[in-house]
């Protein structure tokens, strides 16, 4: 019982830290509709402010450093927060995705700056003498440090509530929160309100940072850890609702101490993925869904190429098989009892027998995965068994995808020819044009991507994944350990193809069309570019690459169509020459912990 109460107490104190973080996140989000990925770094700034304060005050005044650090951290984090708001977030007003990416960049920069200034290892602050020891109440041991944190959080929340309730700024805040345009029309200077809100919100994270130093050593990436939970709190507690945040924060803090909660970066990303559609327009949501579907393909391609050394210039084939399998079903759904329109135009009077089973949604979905896997397995078996590798393999896959598109175009009566399968309107009875359907597709696709990522991560960390890397670098040596590299490669290639198929199947309902040009030779090479830019041999790299490149392509080509090709080409050249391991490779080497695991990719004999 006492054990339980002690646990509960520890949980509450962690909840208190989370609360201070989440409250800031919640107000900035609620008011400005901004997902600030750098919010966690304000915690880090607060923590290092405490560290610097202690260093400046020296040992004699160590007892006072905690109290002194509080205002210092609040102002430091607040000021940097306002700078970020002023220089970046304001300029990206209303562009949620841009803000997310840009503040992510800020987070990376701030972390790196901390690493350069204070060093990568964690630092431990001296605990003020007054806070040593604790009290035992009814058998529950309550250290002063944790009591202080609790008190601090309660004080902060009460003050914030009072401010929102009583102060003029609070009233303006509420006005902006309720209706930004109306508030503006009434003469409220919304940008000033935003600035103050941002200052306070960031400052609160700074206070949380000081609190964190009481719990243990802190390092440059301390913020990432808490940001994950803070996102969850904001989502669970309701956006912009203080009371919800308080309950959710303490609940999560307690949960954290009882359940070994895996606070990994994955969860952070997953949490962000959950939040995104709430704030985006239907169009933006479907745009992002498209990119996420392509990211699933990128994970598959990275498994084959980055980990397995099988450079496929023909993944459009597998993407296409998945996309067409799904599109055939949707086309039949759209046609109802009639024949698909293009077949009528081609003068066919009867549905081909092999179209028939695609009326069944389950069959179509299964085929979207199995068909690419089976084709890849068969192709891989004959190619790998004959020890064909590297450039020959790449050319072979490219040739296969060319043949595939020629067949698609040539048999117009069966495939819709070069127009592809168009006018797909419903999926499983849902209107594809409806915003609710688009949100649903988003969640399904995002969920699939998270699942695929976790599965792939598990795989590459397993013996099988290590073996795949061994095969990539020194295939022949693997044989002399008693393994058959052909089997390993066939499985990897088939899995890679199945993921491409899954990406294709999820892509089709979002865009409502599939055409040969989306999966041809050029498209297949572009897929490789995503992985190359993001960083082969890194799953996160592949995902990032797919998202960033497609996003950039969308942005640039809509204003300056020719520009995209130049940008893409130039980027590829620069990356391949200067950073063969892509963006992730650059980040890793910048962090000074270049993962030697993937270094040999550089020297990989691509015979």
């Amino acid at each position: 019982m006492e054990q339980l109460a002690t646990q509960l107490f520890i949980g509450l104190s962690i909840g208190a830290v989370l609360l201070m973080v989440a409250v800031g996140l919640s107000v900035t989000f609620g008011q400005m509709n901004v997902i600030n990925m750098a919010h966690g770094e304000f915690i880090m700034i607060g923590a290092y402010s405490a560290y610097v304060t202690q260093a400046v005050l020296g040992e004699d005044l160590a007892g006072w450093s905690f109290l002194t650090a509080l205002p210092v951290a609040f102002v430091a984090a607040g000021v940097i927060g306002v700078l970020v708001e002023h220089l970046l977030i304001r300029r990206l007003h209303g562009r949620v995705l841009d803000t997310l990416l840009a503040t992510w960049g800020v987070a990376i920069i701030l972390q790196q700056a901390a690493r350069d200034i204070f060093g990568a290892p964690n630092v431990q602050l001296m605990r003020p003498e007054a806070l040593q020891g604790g009290i035992t109440l009814a058998g529950v041991n309550m250290p002063f440090t944790r009591l202080t944190i609790l008190g601090l959080a309660v004080g902060v929340v009460v003050l914030l509530a009072l401010m929102i309730d009583r102060l003029p700024h609070g009233r303006r805040m509420r006005a902006v929160l309720q209706n930004r345009d109306l508030a503006e029309a009434r003469g409220v200077n919304t940008s000033r309100v935003d600035r103050v809100t941002f200052f306070v919100g960031s400052g609160l994270a700074g206070l949380a940072g000081v609190a964190v130093t009481l719990l243990g050593p802190v390092g440059p990436s301390v913020g990432t850890l808490y940001l994950v939970d803070a996102f969850l709190i904001v989502i669970v507690g309701g956006l912009g609702h203080l009371r919800g945040a308080v309950v959710a924060a303490f609940a999560l803090g307690v949960l954290n101490t009882f359940v070994e909660f895996s606070t990994s970066a994955t969860l952070a990303r997953a949490a962000v993925l959950l939040m995104v559609p709430v704030v985006m327009s239907g169009f933006e949501v479907s745009l992002l869904t498209r990119f996420l579907a392509l990211a699933i393909l990128a994970v598959g391609l990275d498994l084959a190429w980055g980990y397995g050394g099988m450079l496929s210039l023909g993944h459009g084939l597998f993407f296409g098989l998945g996309a067409y399998a799904m599109a055939m079903h949707l086309k039949l759904e759209a046609a109802g009892r009639d024949m698909p329109d293009f077949m009528v135009w081609s003068g066919r009077s009867e549905l081909p027998w092999w179209w028939e089973p695609f009326r069944n949604a389950g069959f179509a979905t299964a085929m979207a995965l199995l068909l690419p896997a089976a084709v890849a397995a068969a192709m891989g078996y004959f190619v790998f068994r004959n020890r064909i590798r590297g450039a020959y393999f790449a050319i072979l896959t490219q040739a296969t995808v060319v043949v595939f598109t020629i067949l698609l175009v040539g048999y117009q009566g069966y495939t819709g020819g070069s127009n592809g399968l168009t006018d797909l309107e419903t999926m499983f009875g849902l209107d594809l044009g409806a915003v609710s359907t688009q949100r649903l597709l988003y969640f399904v696709t995002a969920g699939a991507l998270v699942a695929v990522y976790l599965l792939a991560r598990q795989l590459v960390r397993s013996r099988w994944g290590r073996l795949l890397i061994a095969v990539r670098d020194t295939e022949d040596r693997v044989r002399f350990l008693g393994y058959n590299p052909v089997a390993i490669k066939v499985v990897a290639f088939a899995l890679s193809a199945a993921l491409a198929g899954l990406g294709g199947a999820l892509f089709v309902p979002v865009v409502g069309i599939v055409a040969p040009e989306m999966l041809g030779a050029v498209a297949s090479i572009e897929m490789v570019i995503w992985v190359a830019l993001g960083g082969r041999g890194s799953l996160v790299g592949a995902i990032l690459g797919a998202l960033l490149v497609n996003y950039a392509q969308f942005t640039i080509s809509s204003v300056f169509p020719a520009g995209w090709s130049y940008a893409q080409g130039a980027l590829l050249v620069v990356v391949i020459v200067a950073a063969p391991l892509g963006l992730v490779g650059l980040l890793r080497s910048a962090r000074g912990r270049f993962d030697s695991r993937i270094v040999p990719t550089l020297a990989t004999k691509e015979r």
Binding site: R463, I469, D473, F480, Y483, N484, R597, V599
Partner: protein, 265 residues
């Protein structure tokens, strides 16, 4: 030596008309520790290549434990119980030392392949034995030349083959490392059958009992170290005529070794 484990009969291997092995016959008994020596280009490595499926013979047969293996795929030969090391130690540079070892010990696993690598206590003590416990989590690519050889030997042991074929295992090692390797080999040979190809004569003298001398793709002599050393033809061909000064002899052997290692690269 009633039981023959490896029987090589009239083996012929040609490369574009050039015969690397020319009617070689050789048997290795179960439980033996055999050294194979011979000048550069004698066909020693080719012999191992054929026995492990890397090179296909033009004619002749290779029987392991009574069954013909010359036409089997490499990994199938390994699964029957033959393991080898390479003249230039080959390990997986991108993986850590312990991952290398774990993979070597895991080829019999099925679903276990889907689990993360994990060293059993036995493998950990093997790492201790070869002095790599300290660097267990370093990438194998960062090892020194000697350490790589040790890792490869440890991987070979982790495979638990019945017959171990080692191609110049002490090439490039220091004198102390050579001694340690020799002792390890003798210890292994008490439980398994071991064939060592060696170039360094001092090493052979120290640890070998039974020696086969290869020359120009055929078997020149076979016998105890003393017998082989005393053979005038072997002396003329391969050994220094005067054995009075051991030190200089070793130096020569060392140089020869480095030369082989260098050209092989």
């Amino acid at each position: 030596m009633s039981n023959e484990l490896l029987e090589i009969d009239e083996l012929r291997v040609g490369f574009d008309g050039f015969l690397a092995l020319d009617g070689l016959s050789l048997t290795i008994g179960d439980g033996e520790l055999r050294f194979i020596i011979g000048p550069n280009g004698a066909g020693k490595t080719t012999l191992l290549d054929v026995a492990t499926g890397l090179t296909r013979p033009t004619a002749g047969s290779v029987r392991f434990d009574g069954a013909e293996i010359a036409k089997l795929a490499e990994h199938k030969i390994v699964r029957r119980g033959i393991g080898r090391t390479f003249q230039n130690a080959t390990v997986f540079d991108a993986l850590t030392v312990s991952e290398n070892l774990d993979l070597a010990a895991s080829s019999h696993r099925r679903w276990g392949l889907l689990r993360p690598p994990a060293l059993s206590g036995e493998l950990e003590s093997l790492l201790e034995d070869v002095g790599l416990a300290q660097v267990a989590h370093d990438p194998a690519g960062s090892l020194s030349h000697g350490q790589r050889s040790w890792l490869e030997i440890a991987m070979l042991l982790a495979q638990r083959p019945r017959l171990l074929l080692l191609d110049e295992p002490v090439a490039g090692m220091s004198k102390a490392e050579r001694a340690a390797t020799g002792e390890l080999l003798v210890e292994i040979a008490s439980q398994r059958t071991v064939v060592v190809i060696e170039h360094d004569m001092e090493f052979v003298r120290q640890f070998a009992e039974h020696v086969s001398v290869l020359h120009a793709g055929g078997l020149l002599r076979e016998g105890s170290v003393a017998e082989v050393q005393a053979d005038p033809e072997v002396q003329r061909l391969y050994l220094a005529p005067d054995h009075g000064d051991e030190a200089s002899d070793t130096d020569e052997a060392l140089d020869a070794n480095e030369l082989t290692a260098a050209t092989a690269r």
